[in-house]
Amino acid sequence: MSERALPRSPLPTGRVSRSALAYGAIGLAGFALFTVSQFRPALMPLWGPFEFSWWEYLAAALATYWYACGLASAKDRPSLWRQAGFFVGLLLIYGSLQTHFDYAAQHLFALNRAQQILVHDLGPFLLALSAPATTIATGTPGWVRACAGSRAARAVLDLLARPVVASLLFVGVFYFWLIPPIHFHAMLDARLYEVMNASMVLDGLLFWLMVLDPRPQPPARWSIATRAGMAFGVMTPQTLLGAVVTLAPRELYPSYTLCGRLFPIDAMTDQHLGGLVSWIPPLLITAAAVLILLWRVMRNSDTAHPDIQRSAR
């Protein structure tokens, strides 16, 4: 992104030093986590990262900070339920990637599946349900908003945020990382592992922010019926994948056997469990989305959340 004339932040100038302090604290805390993870990994508590990632840490920390700033300066705050949805969704994503749960997920297929469903389905689902766009946008510094509103960012979003493209990506990304040789590589190569996690989070956010957009159609680009169709459409491929993995007669993902399992359970038991985890919870979440959309239609959706503007994600 090129440097552009930046719109001034709406925050009063007295806040500048406070925000500098906050960014400093975020940086310092990140550096502390990085240092311990790198040089004294045995000292890291269980709530700390098993493998520290600057990307994952900064994304979670900045989203929290900007949302909190938005809450502090918003005229009408989102309800406590929506605030809770945001923080719980974010915590689920961050917690399943940047705590020692990640170690467990690297060493048991069923837990790997649970992790991937938390970061691709449940976490983004709750985040999207909280409709955080306005609040985050209020708390975000001007230059970040300028980047998010730039022509390049809009072009990418225009391309991806179409019902067919987003649905195909939602199913495709989930399938892609379960292709056995690709899964094997991702579980051994730490760089690919990070790419996998990032792609799952972004893909989940794209899909659920579109499907659960609380605004009626004129500001929202797609009708509720279309979006209910998206959620409905991914249910069949989700079922198919869950069934294939659960019922596969042989071991598909040998990396867990080779590198060792978290506790001694049989490879096929682990795979059956992992298949069920990939089968039932995503299906329930998608069904919940369909129900929520139906409910919105029934209680006349144009009265819903008039305060929410176009989601910028």
Binding site: F39, R40, P41, A42, L43, F50, E51, Y103, Q106, H107, F184, H185, M187, L188, D189, A190, L192, P254, S255, T257, L258, C259, G260, R261, L262, F263, P264
Partner: protein, 216 residues
């Protein structure tokens, strides 16, 4: 039409065979080829035999077989180490280019003398390594190894879980193979021997790239 289809099939078959032959000049390994996935060998631990702090630099130019276990291990570790020892024996003089590193995942009980006398019984090429908790965690994390030690309680015996595969690195420290069969009841001794010999015969990289790699 039938003929054309058959012709096409034949053409396809010939092309497939040519491709296989083309890719086949790199003949297949007996163990699992993991080139390009795991990072190059790097560690710091204390070597049991001379109680020295060693790192990957002490094994420069050697084929390294890295294995995680513990001396109280009832079945997996002795089977694997005994099989490795017989593979090394089958290699004759070439075994000198191979170093087996046995990393204990139970440093509490595996003191350096215990570890040294344990590995000495299997083969002289096997080095026992013991790390601090930080050194062990870093190495296990680097190679995605699961390990856990659950001290004995009243109703549970002392339990240690660990990975069963052997990680093989070439003379340039790159991760190359995962050997999984040596802990099983059908160990591929001959396959492992020929894989290790083949790695030992590979031309070590030379020139500026190798120099850079060693400097890092």
């Amino acid at each position: 039409m039938m003929l054309t289809r058959r012709g096409l099939l034949r053409l396809g078959g010939a092309l497939g065979a040519a491709c296989l032959a083309g890719c086949g000049d790199r003949q297949r390994w007996h163990a699992l080829d993991i080139a390009g996935t795991l990072p190059p060998l790097q560690f710091q631990m204390t070597r049991a035999r001379d109680q020295r702090l060693v790192s990957e630099r002490d094994y420069r130019g050697q084929i390294v077989a890295l294995y995680f276990g513990y001396t109280f291990c009832p079945d997996l570790c002795p089977t694997t180490l005994a099989n490795l020892a017989s593979v090394l024996q089958g290699m004759g003089n070439e075994a000198q280019r191979v170093a087996v590193l046995f990393v204990t995942v139970d440093p509490e009980r595996d003191t350096l003398p215990v570890l040294a006398s344990y590995v000495r019984d299997f083969a002289p090429e096997i080095d026992g390594l013991r790390g601090t908790p930080d050194q062990l965690t870093a190495l296990a994390r680097r190679y995605r190894v699961a390990f856990s030690v659950t001290p004995r309680t009243n109703d549970r015996p002392y339990e240690v879980d660990h990975s069963s595969a052997i990680y093989v690195f070439d003379g340039a420290r790159s991760a190359r193979l995962l050997v999984a069969s040596l802990s099983t009841s059908a160990p591929d001794l001959e396959g492992t021997r020929s894989d290790l010999a083949r790695l030992a015969h590979e031309q070590a990289p030379s020139g500026i790239l190798a120099w850079l790699r060693d400097a890092v």
